[in-house]
Structures are given as structure tokens and as C-alpha cells.
Symmetry: C3
Subunit: 138 residues, 3 copies
Amino acid sequence: MKSYRKELRFNVPSRRGYINITAQVQDCIDESGIKEGLVLVNAMHITASVFINDDESGLHSDFETWLERLAPEKPHSAYAHNTYEDNADAHLKRQIMGREIVCAISEGRLDFGPWEQIFYGEYDGKRPKRVLVKIIGE
Amino acid sequence: MKSYRKELRFNVPSRRGYINITAQVQDCIDESGIKEGLVLVNAMHITASVFINDDESGLHSDFETWLERLAPEKPHSAYAHNTYEDNADAHLKRQIMGREIVCAISEGRLDFGPWEQIFYGEYDGKRPKRVLVKIIGE
Amino acid sequence: MKSYRKELRFNVPSRRGYINITAQVQDCIDESGIKEGLVLVNAMHITASVFINDDESGLHSDFETWLERLAPEKPHSAYAHNTYEDNADAHLKRQIMGREIVCAISEGRLDFGPWEQIFYGEYDGKRPKRVLVKIIGE
């Protein structure tokens, strides 16, 4: 069994945003030389997500509206967590969108359906954040 | 380390529905010959889910009501994604229900608690869809 | 490839609650002797969660308020599932919070960002429940 580890780094200039990281994850798989296995991709921060959905700007706008309806940022004072911080909503949004994905690697490629794309979802940006890519296989 | 791959195929006749796929996943494990490892089961489409919950029709009816409350299908025009499509709600519902599960395989069996059952959740049906089963272990 | 399996046991005295299980998961990794691999930690019950977020009591209080808003426990009669049971809301809450986490193990440690902590989330307590820890790697 082989294993591989890499950190991806992001600094989203707005509070919230989505970045397609599919190509970066495939680059990690290529670099690992692993042909059959699993790749774990997870946010290393608890106010961010890694998830798989459509690379379509209208949908990302719908995510913004929808998450603000389910877990609104403001008023900051509505949350018990927000004493020294103002990011309680980001902790909640990330529960809906998820921390991590696990994907199959088959014949050295992300084993994906036709529209699957991997995204980093930021809910408390304007600061450096990291994503972990861990691969095991052969 | 051994690995195994199989696609399951579905064509749900309604827009939304739930199919218990536990036995099909166990069949894959049996076919793989893997006794200790992990099985990943994921929707290959971004308007569908794989998740674990109760095989109880009342609960599935509650899922329908609840998901329609949190991410209603209509009006289609409420979503920026719905220009050429009408399935933005399906992309949102799938975020709540999840893309994938990872389960332990111990002694050649799905290592499950007493009521755990695996479901394919369809949110934009009436078309062919696929689920990927990937197993690694020994 | 090595594999390891352990069950953790809980009996939360209230209907809902959160327990930090990070140290118990690291103990499992230590006991397994696995230095590079993946650890799966999942609730074995379908009214409970395992998830990663902040160990901050204000946030846990926000989880309680928020989940009760998105999937209220009462009235019990609002749910089709609640004929012989009263826990439909717990099945829904667990979909938002998630069944499982998969974490990287690197150099024998949980490969975590600065604030990541693993929690058992109980939504139908006052009874014995189990969490499965499964590790594969080398």
C-alpha cells in the first residue's frame, strides 16, 4: 500500500466563495502514482467545506441565497458562539455543505460521473486556509 | 491490497424516490472477496444521494415533506440555476442528504449497527443514473 | 495492509448532546500501530452523528437552537414516522450533521487543522449507543 499527502492553500478575498479544485486533486493523484485507491479531500478548517456539485455560477448564487436563509450570518448577536467571534453561521453552513469528500481512483483517474466537480467552499474567508489531500492505494 | 469497482444503475420513474441498495452493496463485497477494508458508495450524479438511515416508509414520506420545506422545487424561477434546467432544488437537496457513504467491511460483511440501511436518494429522476461502489482492502 | 476495529460506547443522559471523542479516536490509532492510512468513525445508530467542528459550548448551544428550527422535535404528530416512535426529528437532524467522518492518519497522528475536533452527536439519547472506529493502512 502506498500513501500520499499534500496541503492545498487558499485565501478567498470575500467572506464566502467557491473554488473548483478538481484539477488540483487530479494533479495530486498523478504525483502519487497511485492507480487504484481512495482519495480523501477535507477542509482543515471548521468554517469551510469540500463538496462535489455542479460548476455553474447560477447554482453557486443559489447556494449563497439558500445558506443565508437556512443559517443567516446576521444579526451576529443571534448566536451564542459570537462573543469574541462573528462566524457562528459559517460553522453551521459547513455542516450542510460537508467537511470532506472521499473519491475512488480507478486507472489513475478520479472515478467521476459526467458532471462531478470538487469545490472548496469558504464561509469565513479573507484569511489563509488549507485543504488536505490524502491518498491511499497501489 | 485488493480493489474492486462496480456501477449500479437506476431509473426512478418519479422525480424523487428512495431505493434500498444494502443487499446490492453486500453482493459487491461478496464478489470482491475482500474481508477487511472500506467500501465507498457514491452517487455519480449531482442531483442524487447515497445515505444511511431507516427503511421505514413513514420516514421517507417525512424526508419528502422536509426537503420540500428546506429546498422547495417550485417555483422553478426562484433559482438562478434554472435557466435551461429546472433542477436547482435537486442540487440543494442532495447537499443535505449527502453524496456518499464510507462503510467498514469486517469479516466480509458490512459492519453495521442494528438499523443501518443504505439508500439511493433520487431528486431529479425519470432518467438513467449510476452509483459507484469502490472497495479497497484485503 | 493492516486493519483495526473498535466500538466506542455512549449513554447520553439527555435526548440531545455532544461528546468530544477526539482523544478516544487517537487512542484507537495508537493501539492499531498504523502510521499512514485512513480512519472511519461512524455512528452505528441512525439517530446519531459523528462530525468535526469546534469544541465551544456556545456553538453547541447554537447547534441545538438551529437544528430545532430546521427539524423540530415537536409536535411529534407532525411526522409520519412517529406512529410507535417519537424520534423522526432525530433521523432528520442526523442527515444535516452527518453519519460519519473519514480522517487521514499521517505519522501515526490524526492529520488535523488547528481547531478540528471529533464529536459524537446524540439526537435520541437516554439509551446505550455505539460508534465504530475502523482503521486501514500501514
